[in-house]
C-alpha cells in the first residue's frame, strides 16, 4: 500500500507533474500576452496555489489507485454500506448546488424578470461546472465506468429505475447548461452566426432545463424511496422528492449569493446586493414553507417524537432544519439584515452548508439507524471530493477571466452593479 503510493508519487512527479507545470507555465504566459492576465506572486498566493496543487496530486493518486486496485483500496465502502461520500456529496449535493441555475433562468427568460440577468451567467457557469464534476465523480465512483462511456444506459433502458431517469436527466441537463452558457463563448469569439443561433434557442432550452431539473432534482430524493425501513424515520418520507426539489431551489438560490460574494472578493468587482437581497427575501418564505412542510410531514407520519430525542439523528435533523432553514428564514425576513452584505453572505453560506448536510443525512447518516455507524469516509475519498471542488472553483476563476461571465465586462448589462 505505502509502496504503491510512493511509486505513484514518483510516477506523478516525472510523468504528470513536470508536463503539467510546463503546460501551466506556457498557458500563463499566453494568457499574460493575449489577455493581459497578471498574477501577483505574493507569498499568500503561492502557498495557496501550492496547497491546492498538492491536494490535486493526492486526489489524482487516489483516483489512479481506485482504477487499479478497486474501490475497496481507496474508500471505506463495504457490502453493508455501498454508497458513500462521493454519491452523498458530489452527486446529491452537487446537483442541489446547481439548482439556482434553472430557477434564475426561469425567472429571467420565462417570467421576464430582467433585473436578475446580471447574475444569470455566472450562476449557469457554476451549475455547468458542478454538473460536469458530478459526472466525473460518478465515473470514479461507479464500478464499471466504461459501460457509462459506452452509453449503455442509452441502449438498455429501464423505465422503472429512478437511477436511469436521473442519469438521463443529468446528462441532458448538462448539455442544456452548456448550450445556455455558450453565448458567452461565442460573444468572446465574436462568432455572429453561432451566437444568434444559441441566442434564439435559449428560451426553449431554459424551459427544457427547468423540466429536466424538476425531474432529476426530485428524483435524487425518490432514489431513496426504494429502501423503506433502511432510512431513519426522520428522513424517509414518500414526500422526499418534493423536499428535494424545494431544497434544491432554496439552496440553489443561496448558492447564487455565496458564489456572487466569493467572486466579488476574488475579482474585486461590484456586488449586485439589491438582487441578492430580493432573492434572500423570496428564500425566506421558501425556507419557512419548507421547514413547516417537513415538520408537518413528520407529524402526519407520526414520527414527530423523533425530533425530541437527543441522539445523533435528532441533532443532525435540528442542525439541518433549524440552523439551515428556520433560523435563516427568520433572519432573512428582516430587511435590515438583507441589506447587510456580510450578513446576507453568512446566512447564505449557512443555508448552503446545511443543505449539503441534508443530502449527506439522507444518503449516509440516516442509514446508520439500519447499518450502524460503520461508514466514515476515508481520507482519500475526502481528498478526491475536495480536489474536485477546488478544481471546479479554479476552472470557474479561469473562465470568469476569459469569458464575459460578469456584467462589468458583459455587453448586455442592464443595471449598474451596486457598489458597496
Amino acid at each position: 500500500m505505502l509502496q504503491d503510493i510512493l511509486m505513484l508519487t514518483a510516477f506523478f512527479i516525472l510523468r504528470i507533474g513536470v508536463p503539467l507545470l510546463l503546460v501551466i507555465g506556457i498557458g500563463y504566459s499566453l494568457l499574460q500576452r493575449f489577455y493581459g492576465v497578471k498574477l501577483d506572486f505574493s507569498p499568500k498566493f503561492v502557498t495557496g496555489v501550492g496547497l491546492v496543487l498538492a491536494l490535486w496530486a493526492l486526489a489524482a493518486i487516489a483516483v489512479i489507485l481506485r482504477f487499479t486496485d478497486g474501490l475497496g483500496a481507496v474508500t471505506n465502502l463495504s457490502d453493508q454500506f455501498p454508497l458513500g461520500l462521493w454519491i452523498g456529496f458530489d452527486v446529491m449535493a452537487g446537483a442541489m448546488l446547481g439548482g439556482g441555475a434553472f430557477v434564475l433562468a426561469g425567472l429571467v427568460y420565462v417570467f421576464g424578470i430582467e433585473r436578475y440577468r446580471p447574475i444569470l451567467r455566472s450562476t449557469i457557469l457554476t451549475a455547468f461546472l458542478g454538473y460536469v464534476l458530478l459526472i466525473v465523480a460518478l465515473l470514479v465512483d461507479v464500478g464499471r465506468p466504461q459501460n457509462i462511456l459506452l452509453a449503455r444506459p442509452v441502449y438498455f433502458i429501464n423505465i422503472h429505475s429512478v437511477l436511469w431517469e436521473v442519469a438521463m436527466c443529468v446528462l441532458c441537463y448538462t448539455v442544456v447548461l452548456a448550450l445556455e452558457f455558450s453565448p458567452a463563448l461565442f460573444e468572446r469569439l465574436r462568432w455572429r452566426r453561432m451566437w444568434r443561433l444559441t441566442h434564439k434557442i435559449t428560451l426553449p432550452l431554459v424551459i427544457v432545463g427547468i423540466l429536466l431539473s424538476t425531474m432529476h432534482q426530485s428524483s435524487l430524493g425518490s432514489l431513496w424511496l426504494i429502501a423503506p425501513g433502511k432510512l431513519h424515520g426522520l428522513w424517509y418520507s414518500p414526500l422526499l422528492p418534493v423536499f428535494f426539489w424545494i431544497s434544491a431551489v432554496a439552496v440553489g438560490l443561496a448558492m447564487v449569493t455565496v458564489e456572487s460574494n466569493l467572486s466579488a472578493r476574488a475579482f474585486k468587482r461590484g456586488l449586485e446586493q439589491d438582487l441578492l437581497a430580493s432573492l434572500g427575501k423570496a428564500n425566506a418564505y421558501l425556507l419557512a414553507f419548507y421547514a413547516a412542510f417537513r415538520l408537518a410531514d413528520l407529524a402526519v407520519r407520526g414520527q414527530l417524537g423523533l425530533v425530541l430525542r437527543l441522539d445523533l439523528p435528532g441533532v443532525l435533523f435540528w442542525v439541518e432544519l433549524g440552523l439551515g432553514a428556520i433560523l435563516p428564514a427568520a433572519l432573512l425576513m428582516r430587511p435590515q439584515i438583507r441589506k447587510n452584505r456580510d450578513a446576507l453572505f453568512a446566512i447564505a453560506a449557512v443555508i448552503v452548508a446545511c443543505g449539503i448536510l441534508n443530502r449527506l443525512n439522507v444518503s449516509m447518516f440516516s442509514l446508520y439507524s439500519y447499518t450502524g455507524p460503520i461508514y466514515i469516509p476515508s481520507w482519500m475519498e475526502m481528498v478526491v471530493t475536495a480536489g474536485m471542488f477546488t478544481f471546479g472553483a479554479a476552472v470557474f476563476a479561469l473562465l470568469a477571466r476569459l469569458l464575459p461571465v460578469f456584467p462589468a465586462e458583459h455587453g448586455e448589462q442592464a443595471t449598474v452593479p451596486a457598489q458597496v
Binding site: H160, L163, E187, I207, T214, L225, A227, G229, G411, E412
Partner: protein
C-alpha cells in the same frame, strides 16, 4: 427424496422448454421491452421455481455452501466464508440459544417475485428471467451499486478490489443447472431434506401443510410468502424469525412500487409544468413586446465595445 427430485427435474425441464420458446420468439425484442415485461407481467408467481427451507430440519452441515462453491467455481477466503460475499453466494449461519439449542439458517438471494434490485438497476443488468430467478448481465452493469441499496435482504455483493471489472455477485438460483434439468447445487446436496425445490405454489402448500401438521412445533409464518411482495425462497422455522437474524420489518408491498408511485406521476408533473412554462413565456413575450436583442452585444450601438 428420489420422487421429489424427479418432479423438480421435470418441472425445471418444462420451464426450460418454455423459457427457450419464449426467448426464441422474443429474440428480436429490445432490452426495453424485455425489462418492462419482466417488471410488469413476468412469470406467474405460482409456477416460478422456488425453494422451501425448513430451518428445523437443517443440521448445519454446510454441504449446501460447499456445493455452491464448487458449482459456481468460487474461491472464497476464510474470512469471506463467514458471511455472504463476492465469493460466497450462500452461507449457513449458526444461532445458539439457551439450553444448548442451536439453529442454522441458510442465506442466499431470496429471488423476489417483484425484485427491488431488478427495478432499481438502471440498465437491467440485474433482471428477472422469464423462468423466475433474478439473473445478472455483467456486460451492461455500471457498477453503481444501487441494487445493494435497494435490496431489502442485503444480498448483492460487490467486488471491491477490482479496478474496472467488478461485478455484482449473488446466488443465481443455479439457472444453468435448472435449464439443464438439474437441481440447484445446494438443494441437490442437502442430506436432511431441509431444502426442497419445486414450484412456488406447491411449496407454499407444502409449507402450510407442515405447519398445520405440527402447529405446536412450527412458527405459524412462512417467511417469504408475503415479505417484499413475495419471494421464491420460502422459510419455515420452529424458532421465531426475529431471533434468527431475519428482518421482520420488511414490507409486504413489492418494493418497486415505492419508487413507481413517484415515477408514474412524473409525466403528469412534467407535462403540466411544460404547459405552465410555455404559457408564461408566451404571456411574457406579449407583455414585453417583441424583443429586438437579436443583435450580438458587440454590435449594439450602446455597448461600449
Amino acid at each position: 427424496m428420489n420422487a421429489v427430485s424427479s418432479t423438480a427435474k421435470s418441472l425445471s425441464r418444462r420451464q426450460f422448454l418454455k423459457l427457450s420458446a419464449v426467448t426464441a420468439g422474443a429474440a428480436a425484442l429490445a432490452g426495453v421491452q424485455a425489462s418492462a415485461m419482466a417488471a410488469s407481467t413476468g412469470v406467474k408467481p405460482g409456477s416460478t421455481p422456488a425453494m422451501l427451507i425448513d430451518i428445523s430440519r437443517c443440521v448445519g452441515c454446510s454441504n449446501c455452501q460447499r456445493s455452491c462453491i464448487a458449482a459456481n467455481n468460487l474461491h472464497p477466503t476464510s474470512e469471506q466464508l463467514q458471511g455472504l460475499s463476492a465469493q460466497t453466494f450462500t452461507v449457513v449461519q449458526r444461532y445458539d440459544f439457551e439450553g444448548g439449542n442451536t439453529r442454522f439458517v441458510k442465506r442466499q438471494c431470496m429471488h423476489c417475485l417483484d425484485a427491488a434490485c431488478a427495478s432499481a438497476c438502471p440498465v437491467s443488468a440485474l433482471y428477472k428471467t422469464e423462468a423466475g430467478p433474478i439473473a445478472y448481465r455483467p456486460d451492461r452493469c455500471l457498477g453503481c451499486r444501487y441494487c445493494m441499496v435497494s435490496c431489502p435482504f442485503n444480498i448483492p455483493r460487490f467486488e471491491w478490489n477490482k479496478g474496472l471489472t467488478p461485478e455484482i455477485r449473488k446466488c443465481m438460483f443455479c439457472i444453468e443447472r435448472q435449464e439443464a434439468g438439474q437441481l440447484p447445487a445446494c438443494a441437490e446436496n442437502c442430506p436432511t431434506g431441509a431444502l426442497k425445490v419445486g414450484t412456488r405454489e406447491e411449496l407454499l402448500r407444502e409449507a402450510h401443510a407442515r405447519i398445520a401438521a405440527h402447529p405446536r412445533f412450527y412458527v405459524d409464518h412462512v417467511y417469504g410468502e408475503h415479505e417484499a411482495g413475495g419471494t421464491s425462497m420460502l422459510y419455515i422455522s420452529d424458532v421465531p424469525f426475529a431471533l434468527l437474524g431475519f428482518r421482520t420489518d420488511v414490507t409486504t408491498r413489492p418494493i418497486p412500487a415505492y419508487t413507481w408511485d413517484v415515477m408514474s406521476k412524473l409525466p403528469w408533473v412534467v407535462g403540466g409544468l411544460a404547459a405552465v412554462l410555455t404559457g408564461a413565456s408566451i404571456y411574457t413575450r406579449k407583455r414585453n413586446g417583441a424583443h429586438h436583442d437579436d443583435t450580438p452585444p458587440w454590435e449594439r450601438p450602446e455597448a461600449g465595445g
